[in-house]
Symmetry: D2
Subunit: 178 residues, 4 copies
Amino acid sequence: MTEMTESVPGWLAPDELESVRDRMPILYVDAVPVRVDDKGVVTHVGLLLRIGSDGTVSRALVSGRVLHHERVRDALVRHLEKDLGPVALPRVPLSPQPFTIAEYFPTPGVTPYHDPRQHAVSLAYIVPVAGDCRPRQDALDLIWFTPEEAASPSVQQEMTGGQDVLLRQALAHVGRLP
Amino acid sequence: MTEMTESVPGWLAPDELESVRDRMPILYVDAVPVRVDDKGVVTHVGLLLRIGSDGTVSRALVSGRVLHHERVRDALVRHLEKDLGPVALPRVPLSPQPFTIAEYFPTPGVTPYHDPRQHAVSLAYIVPVAGDCRPRQDALDLIWFTPEEAASPSVQQEMTGGQDVLLRQALAHVGRLP
Amino acid sequence: MTEMTESVPGWLAPDELESVRDRMPILYVDAVPVRVDDKGVVTHVGLLLRIGSDGTVSRALVSGRVLHHERVRDALVRHLEKDLGPVALPRVPLSPQPFTIAEYFPTPGVTPYHDPRQHAVSLAYIVPVAGDCRPRQDALDLIWFTPEEAASPSVQQEMTGGQDVLLRQALAHVGRLP
Amino acid sequence: MTEMTESVPGWLAPDELESVRDRMPILYVDAVPVRVDDKGVVTHVGLLLRIGSDGTVSRALVSGRVLHHERVRDALVRHLEKDLGPVALPRVPLSPQPFTIAEYFPTPGVTPYHDPRQHAVSLAYIVPVAGDCRPRQDALDLIWFTPEEAASPSVQQEMTGGQDVLLRQALAHVGRLP
C-alpha cells in the first residue's frame, strides 16, 4: 500500500498520521484496474510494477487512504489518477458496496492481509479503465496480465501484504478465477 | 416483462414455450438502464414507456428471456439492444452476480413480483448506458428520471408486476434510495 | 451512532479521539438486527429505543467504532453484545462484504448520512439474532418491527443521521422492501 | 449436478424434462454447505462423496433444479434436506442475491462450468449447517474439509463440471481462499 504524503490543510500531517497509526484502524481503498470486452468480461488485470530500494521487484494494486471529508468514490478516482495518470478513464463502480474488504493487520496471520506499519481496513473495488495508463509517482510501469497470468505463482509471489489473495478474490468475483 | 417471439432453430417455438410455461420456471434477465456521472453516481434511471391496447400507460424495465445456449451477459446485451437501439452503448456488469433476483409468480402474493403468464425467475442487473437510446419494438419511448422521480408514487404506480419494487431495490443498491 | 468511551490501553482515549475526529474518517460498523423464519425470510427488524436528554424519542441501529487491532467481525459481536445483551446469539455474516457502506459526513447533504461529530465510514451488515435481547447501556428497549412497520413514515422519522435510509437499504437487500 | 426424478403432478415428468432440456436453460441452485465458528468465520466446507458406476470417486456440492411455483429458498431447503438429511438445520441466506451464478453449458469451454446433459443456470449460495448431516440418496457420505484442504489439488480434481471453480469462488467470497 502506498505511503501518503499529503499535507493539505485539514488533513493529517505525516507526523500526526504516525501517532494515530498505532491507535486506530485507518480507512483505505484498494482498486483492481481491469480491461473488459464489449460484453463486460474481464480480459486483463493491471498491476503496478515497483522496484524497492534493495532492487526487489514487486507488483501492487492501486491503493491509498481515504481522507477526511472525502467520499470513498472520490478517493478511488484520486488514487487511480495518481497511479494511472489523468487519461486512464476509470469507471468507478455504481454501488458503494465493495466486492470485499481487506483487513491489513500489523501482526501477520490475523487475516490474510498484512501491513507492518498500521492496521488498515480497505474497501476493495474492481475498476474498468478504458483509456491510456501512464503510471506516475513511485510506480515504474503498469503491466496488463490475463486472469490466468495474474493468478499464476510467478506473478502472485511478487505481490505483498496479501494483495495476491485480494487479486484472486477479485478474479473470483468476476467469474475469472482460473 | 416483454413477450418473446423468436423462432430461431434450436430455440423454443412460441407454442412449445406455451406448453413449458406452466411446468417449470423460465429464466429471465431484468436490466435497469442508468446514466452515471464521472464519479459513478447514478443520476438517472431509464424506463420504457408502453401504451396498452386499452390505452393504459405503463413504464417498464428492460426485460426478457435467456435463450438456450446463451450466456446471461449475451442475453443482457441482446435485450438492451432490442429495447434501447443499437447505439445505446450499454456497459454490462463485470460480475455475473445479479444485485438481486426477482421471482415472478403466476399467483400474486407469493413474492412481490407477479407475472400472470408464467413462473419466471429473473436475474436483475444495473446497466449504465452511455450512448443514445432509441426505443424499438413495442416501446414508445425511453424516459430518464432522477432517482427521486423514479421512486415517486406517480411513477411507481405506472409500473407493473412488482417492477416498482425491483426499481427501488436497484436504487437502494447504488445508494440512491430517496 | 453510539458514543464510545473505552479507555483500554492501546486504544484511543476520549480526548485523543476528539483530536483525531476532525482529521480523518473513523471506521464504524452498523448492524441491522433481524428475526428470520426457517426459510431465511426476514420477518422482523430490531430497533433500539433511546430517549434524549430533551425527551425526544429516537430509534437506532446497533452501531459503533472498530478499534485498533480488532477484526470487523469482532467489532460486530462486541457492539451487538453491548446493545442486545449477552444471550442475543447474533449470527455474524460469513462474508466480510458489507451489504453497503454508509458515509456519515459532518456536513449534511454530501451523502444521505450525517454525523455532526465526525466523518465516519460505516460497514453495514444484516445480522440475524436468535436469542433473547436485553438492551443495555443507554438504550431503553429493543422493539421488533415487521418490514412494513419499519419502513413506515412513523418509524422512519424517528431515526436520525440517515439510518432510516440505511434501514430501507437493508430491507431492499433481503427482498423485503414494502 | 444431481439428476431429478420427481413426478409430482404439475411438475415436469422425466420425459418432458428431456424434451425441454435441449431447448431452454434450466434453473438450478447450488449450495455450498459450511461450518462456521461463533464469529461467522467459515471453518469447514462439506462435500458429498459419490462413487460412479465405474468406481470413480467424485465430490460434489448440493445441487438441483428449481421446480415450477417453487421459491428459490424453498428449493434450497428441499435439496439440502434431500442430500444432508432432515436434521442438518441449514440456515438459508437472508438475501435472495446469490454470491455468483454458474452457467453450466452442454458445450465445454463457453464458461468454466459444464453439464453434458443440458444448459443449466445455477444460483449459488453458501449455507451454514449447524446440525447433523446424514447423506441420503446417491451420496455415500458428506466429508468436511478445511478451506485449505477444499482448495487443494487432490480435492479439486475430484470435483466435476466446474464445481471446483465454484467452490473456490465461494471460499473467495467468505474471505477464506488460501
